[in-house]
């Protein structure tokens, strides 16, 4: 099982991703308006999707952490690894998006609601990870970063909405996208490939994070036998 995750998952992911990219670069037709430039979509869009998946995982882990009464290091580690992987994928997605934007719109950056929310998402999760580095106490770190993760995640739809509103009052053209069915297949294949790689990253980072927690938190089995002779209640720590 372990070997399968360590070698099988990334190899399968790379294979599928290579197939997807080959389909995208060689098999799919060039875009009618943008030409071959548009082919960066097969890299860019899956990156964005996986970044969203990772951030969603971070949000779910943060909410579950706060709902659980006892400190759950597994949920805390899940949240940390998801935020880190999501930040990596999101940054790559942003860079590929800017590379795409330059020949398409003539600029690397536009104040488009999606781009803006994504930039704010990256800053938000950078703050989240910085907070984690700046709090020594593992219990406090877990709780506080969960609160920050929830507030930051709630903010993203509000940002998207308010920026859209802000821009729409400025009358900026929207960019309608019509997707050729021959573009859908390579996109899907690339997305599946990247999903496998993302899962591999998440699992690897999660194991590291959990090992870090176990190194800085004394686990219940480090406790001595019950002291005193009166009671030995059922002893439970999450």
């Amino acid at each position: 099982m372990n070997k399968l995750i360590k070698w099988g998952l990334p190899l399968a992911g790379l294979g599928v991703l290579a197939a997807g990219w080959w389909l995208g670069l060689a098999w799919a037709p060039p875009d009618r308006e943008m030409g071959d430039v548009q082919r960066i979509m097969y890299v860019h869009v899956p990156l964005q999707w996986m970044a969203m998946v990772a951030m969603l995982l971070n949000f779910v882990a943060a909410v579950s952490y706060l709902l659980r009464g006892n400190a759950s290091w597994k949920l805390d580690s899940t949240a940390e690894s998801a935020a880190e992987v999501g930040l990596l994928l999101g940054t790559l997605g942003m860079v590929t998006g800017a590379i795409w934007g330059r020949p398409t719109w003539g600029v690397y950056w536009s104040w488009d609601p999606r781009l803006t929310s994504e930039a704010i998402m990256l800053v938000t999760y950078t703050g989240y990870l910085v907070l984690r580095r700046f709090v020594e106490d593992p219990d406090k770190r877990a709780t506080w970063s969960a609160v920050v993760a929830i507030l930051g995640a709630i903010n993203l739809p509000i940002v998207w909405f308010s920026v859209r509103w802000w821009r729409s009052l400025h009358q900026v053209q929207s960019s309608p996208k019509t997707v050729d069915p021959q573009m859908v297949l390579p996109l899907r294949v690339s997305a599946i490939g990247l999903l496998l790689i993302t899962i591999f990253f998440l699992i690897t980072r999660y194991r590291l994070a959990l090992a870090e927690r176990q190194a800085e938190v004394a686990l219940p089995d480090a406790l001595p036998e019950a002291s005193g002779s009166v009671v030995s209640n059922a002893h439970k720590v999450a």
């Binding site: 706060l66 704010i120 800053v123 938000t124 950078t126 703050g127 910085v130 907070l131 700046f134 709090v135 020594e136 219990d139 406090k140 709780t143 506080w144 609160v147 920050v148 929830i150 507030l151 930051g152 709630i154 903010n155 509000i158 940002v159 909405f161 308010s162 920026v163 509103w165 802000w166 009052l169």
Partner: protein, 231 residues
């Protein structure tokens, strides 16, 4: 001397707010600091842009809220520094005071301070940038109130966190700035409309957005704050 019956959330909030205002009144440390800081910020904008009054007037709404945002970082941090001296926060928690009352009192106190700051900055904007209040002071008051509440609701949560972390001075703006972008955007936009006229009747939409932002973050802060300060 018998023990009186425990007090409710509202009375606890008011008692704590009264305490914070009393400390503020006795030292005036926070208000003085943030007023001068915000004034300096407004002044710096005029130097950074050069003596083009038309440009300054056009952007006044944005500069006004940036000055308040920068000053709010100082005010928020200071509001929890008072509690960390002599572990006063423990004293209040163990009194016992409802953690949610602590949140409400801190957030309201910070909002009040920002409203006072905004009120003091307005004449300065008139003098420095040559702005005029076109649609009326009631509108401006609404924007100021809703904007200040919107900055202080998440700001209080983050100040409570960063006041106990290392490098708190870096951490608070890093966490707060991305979060308050929608509030900053709508408050600045609404202020611009108030100062330059609102021919297309957009002011209410921006006030509505601010109100929604407030409802969400006051609610979330109210729910989550106890988890931050209780062990």
């Amino acid at each position: 001397m018998n023990r009186p019956a425990p007090i409710g959330l509202l009375r606890a909030t008011l008692a704590l707010l009264r305490k914070d205002l009393l400390i503020e009144w006795r030292t005036r440390a926070r208000l003085n600091a943030i007023v001068f800081f915000a004034l300096a910020t407004l002044l710096m904008f005029s130097f950074a842009l050069g003596p083009d009054t038309r440009l300054l007037e056009k952007n006044a709404g944005g500069y006004f809220w940036l000055a308040i945002l920068f000053a709010s970082v100082l005010a928020l941090g200071e509001s929890f520094r008072v509690e960390s001296e002599n572990a006063c926060m423990d004293g209040v928690r163990l009194a016992p005071a409802d953690a949610r009352a602590i949140y409400l009192s801190k957030a309201l106190g910070n909002a009040l301070l920002l409203v006072a700051l905004g009120t003091l900055l307005l004449p300065v904007m008139v003098a420095l940038y040559g702005v005029k209040v076109v649609t009326g002071f009631v509108d401006l008051g609404c924007v100021l109130l809703l904007g200040s509440l919107a900055l202080s609701a998440p700001g209080t949560v983050y100040a409570a966190i960063s006041s106990n972390a290392r490098a708190r001075d870096v951490l608070l703006p890093l966490l707060l700035f991305p979060l308050v972008i929608p509030a900053l955007l709508s408050a600045a936009k609404a202020t611009t409309l108030v100062l330059q006229g609102d021919p297309m009747n957009q002011l209410n939409s921006w006030l509505g957005l601010l109100l929604g932002f407030n409802l969400i973050y006051w609610g979330v802060g109210f729910l989550l704050f106890p988890r931050i300060i209780e062990d």
